[in-house]
């Protein structure tokens, strides 16, 4: 993964106007639910007042220097018990008294970290505005345990509701600030410019180390000189607001055969190389790059797991041997679709715009001169789990024309399913219809595949009205990308999942509509799966090389169609005789059997439904002889046409692809 991050870094350097990244030791504050207070300190080192931290300050990006144990100027206060006892030792009339040992430790930490930051800043000729850092460190020298108790007394006095008190007792963040920073004409301590200056100082230190290493005679894996690999531990990086560690393999972790041995010695890195890797990952992991370069993905291995492991997955496209325009990186990224703009449009209900937007992206890619170059680009996907080593999931190399060809191929796949006129919309409940989706992105397809629908509450059980949906991480992000690039093995896997799982949903949906029960299946939040399933199937078939013209002539499609038409004929005959419709039509009853035993199902359906078919045939013959045509028996004609195709014979069992085609035939003709 480090190799790939380094290569991406070579390209990221050329991106113009990229946002400066802060040193890894400057971290954004966590966004978990907690009580936030700003503590003002006067010149005597006493707490002059407390106030809730403004939301604008929090949203604008509050940072802290340090790690979980040493923080400045934001300090975390958690009511945890340790060897010294509880943090809040006792309560007197609603005001806590902090355990003396805890209070002492807090003072020592605050003093130490403030002094560290002040020393860092002092060595680099700080401007006057940044002087608040040094002033804060001087004031902190005077704090003691009485100061700590004073803070909490003021805080808890200001709280009015029980809920606020409860939250503050559980978890609190304190930001230390100078009382009189405006009189001293300096920045507030927790100001962006202060953080940036501290970050610059730290980066300057690293650069100095890099220059010192130029004299080294050893070379790291990227050919850069280094002196010693003894302390090459990678600092943490932030992706969004979550912290991740990049660390070398140690003796306890599994060994990759390519390296041959464990440990940092197997992969020496110079400071400059380390810096490049960290800066690259930080750039990629910026919050504004979410769903462009990275996404959080929940990995569940089985459906029994309540919560899967949360991991961050990076998918990056980078050009080699030529400059990388910023717009291109973003457009290509969006197109590969790890949940970018196109998917968001669909989720927000703008399904019609999904297709338009995708077409626009293709035009933009094709129209740009630089994209027409035959430069190679690499696609990398790697993941950084919250615990455990990071690793590379996928690499792919291709030229731009190849990529564009695949993009167009994906887009053509959307036209591989055309809903019948009366089936373009599904009736969710009385008076309310929702159209089927006419396009689908790779990410949406991944989501569709990953949802399993239990078969326990199927149509045979009349008491239970709905199917239960289980989210199951069958396909991961690399599978999604392979699917996008038309990998046949992945397409077959997806079709296998569809055949064993989703076809039941498709068959179920149609019957629920006809019973007026689709609402029980989708509820108040119509699940997009149902509306995107047909186009998903069409796309998968297209990627497999089966176009609409081919599958619509196949026996499987006509079998589904025959079952659908059989139900319609039965309905027409019953209506003509003014008889009540049964709960389950003949076609419905046997189409599910048809998935497993098509010959048997066809036989049973034609036998059991024979009474209606013979009636329909009789009426058709009479009508035809009288008026020369039989308009009212369109369904019978459609059935006969399907049976013409089935005359050639049915297989004993369908393949997965045929099962899916059969379900599509049933859905589109029901």
């Amino acid at each position: 993964m480090i190799t790939e991050a380094f290569m991406i870094g070579e390209e990221v350097k050329k991106v113009e106007g990229r946002k400066r990244t802060l040193h890894p030791n400057i971290c954004p504050v966590p966004t978990q639910r907690a009580a936030w207070f700003t503590v003002f300190i006067n010149a005597q080192g006493k707490c002059s007042g407390v106030a809730p931290t403004e939301q604008d300050t929090l949203k604008g990006g509050l940072y802290y220097f340090g790690d979980a144990h040493n923080q400045w100027p934001v300090v975390k206060v958690e009511n945890k018990k340790n060897q010294s006892g509880e943090f809040y030792e006792r309560w007197e009339e609603g005001i806590p008294r902090v355990n003396e040992s805890h209070a002492q430790k807090m003072c020592i930490k605050i003093k130490r970290v403030s002094r560290i930051v002040a020393d860092i800043v002092q060595g680099h000729n700080p401007p006057k505005a940044v002087g608040s850092v040094g002033i804060m460190a001087d004031r902190m020298e005077k704090v003691d345990s009485a100061f700590v108790n004073d803070i909490f007394a003021k805080i808890f006095n200001s709280l009015s509701t029980d809920e606020e008190r409860k939250l503050a007792t559980k978890l609190m963040y304190l930001t230390f600030e100078l009382e009189d920073y405006d009189k001293l004409k300096v920045n507030p301590v927790a100001h962006r410019k202060n953080y940036e200056f501290v970050s610059d100082c730290l980066i300057h230190e690293t650069d100095r180390l890099c220059k010192d290493e130029d004299k080294g005679d050893k070379r790291d894996m990227f050919g850069r000189p280094y002196v010693s690999s003894a302390a090459w531990k990678m600092p943490q990086i932030f992706v969004g607001n979550k912290k991740y560690y990049i660390h070398s393999r140690n003796e306890k972790s599994l060994c990759y055969a390519s390296y041959g041995r464990n440990g940092g010695d197997s992969c020496p890195l110079a400071f400059s190389s380390r810096k490049q890797v960290v800066e690259t990952l930080q750039y990629l992991g910026l919050p504004e790059h979410k769903d462009i370069y990275w996404m959080t993905h929940i990995r569940k291995v089985s459906s029994k797991e309540q919560k899967g492991k949360r991991e961050t997955v990076f998918t990056v496209v980078t050009m080699v041997y030529s400059p990388l325009p910023k717009e291109m990186m973003q457009e290509l990224q969006r197109y590969i679709e790890i949940g970018g703009e196109v998917a968001r449009l669909a989720q927000q209900g703008h399904e019609n715009k999904t297709k338009t937007r995708s077409v626009e992206i293709i035009q933009a890619l094709k129209g740009n001169r630089e994209y027409k170059d035959n430069g190679l680009f690499y696609l990398f996907t790697f993941e950084i789990p919250s615990n455990g080593p990071s690793h590379l999931l996928l690499t792919q190399t291709m030229t731009i024309p190849q990529f564009l060809k695949q993009v167009e191929r994906w887009t053509h796949g959307w036209d591989n399913f055309e809903p019948a006129k009366f089936n373009g919309e599904l009736t969710v409940k009385k008076g309310e219809t929702k159209p089927l989706y006419d396009s689908i992105t790779a990410y949406q397809l991944l989501r569709v595949i990953n949802n399993r629908w239990s078969r326990t509450a199927g149509i045979r059980d009349e008491k239970i009205q709905s199917r239960k949906r289980i989210e199951y991480q069958f396909m991961q992000v690399p599978d999604m990308i392979r699917l996008f690039f038309g990998d046949r093995v992945t397409v077959d896997r997806c079709l296998n999942v569809m055949a064993n799982n989703h076809v039941f949903l498709l068959l179920d949906v149609v019957d629920r509509i006809h019973n007026g029960e689709l609402y029980h299946l989708v509820g108040d939040n119509p699940r997009t799966d149902i509306f995107s399933l047909p186009v998903a199937i069409g796309e998968l078939l297209y990627q497999k090389g089966i176009t609409k013209e081919v599958y619509e002539q196949s026996p499987a499609y006509h079998f589904g169609r025959a079952m659908a038409c059989l139900s319609r004929v039965q309905k027409a005959v019953l209506k003509r005789d003014d008889k009540k419709k049964p709960r389950r039509m003949v076609g419905t009853e046997y189409v599910h059997l048809g998935l497993a035993r098509p010959r048997h199902a066809l036989n049973l359906a034609l036998t059991k439904g024979g009474i209606y078919l013979r009636r329909a045939k009789r009426d058709r013959m009479v009508e035809h002889s009288q008026i020369g045509e039989s308009k009212s028996y369109y369904n019978y004609w459609a059935l006969v046409r399907s049976l013409e195709v089935l005359k050639q014979g049915l297989p004993a069992k369908w393949t997965d692809t045929e099962k899916v085609i059969m379900a599509l035939g049933y859905f589109n003709n029901r």
């Binding site: 034609l606 013979r614 009789r618 089935l646």
Partner: protein
Amino acid sequence: MTELTIFAKIGRLLNNADRLHLFYYEDHKTAPKDIPLHFAGGDCLLAVCKNPAKGLSWLHKKVAPFLKYCEAKIKKKQVNWGRAYAVKRDYMDLYHEVVREMDEMCIQGGEVDCEAKNVILVNYY
């Protein structure tokens, strides 16, 4: 597949029986309610699927009056005798062919298998 061809012919024979019955019905109906529940082929369909030999003999008995009617019309050259000739010829030629092939293949009694039934049904409809 050769075996299945005979069943395809049986299905078409039943269809021809329906055409014969329709012809008879059109000349004899006085009101729409005279329409039979099923035509001859449809009536015998299940019986033929169950036991082709017996079923076909029952079918032939059922369509006998219609055949007689057609013969009379052809002899007297009455209105529409050409159509009568066509439907009768279609039925009889196929019937003799089916009977001959069934004798050759020794298909006498017993229920046919699922695939054969499918062929009969599909060709009938």
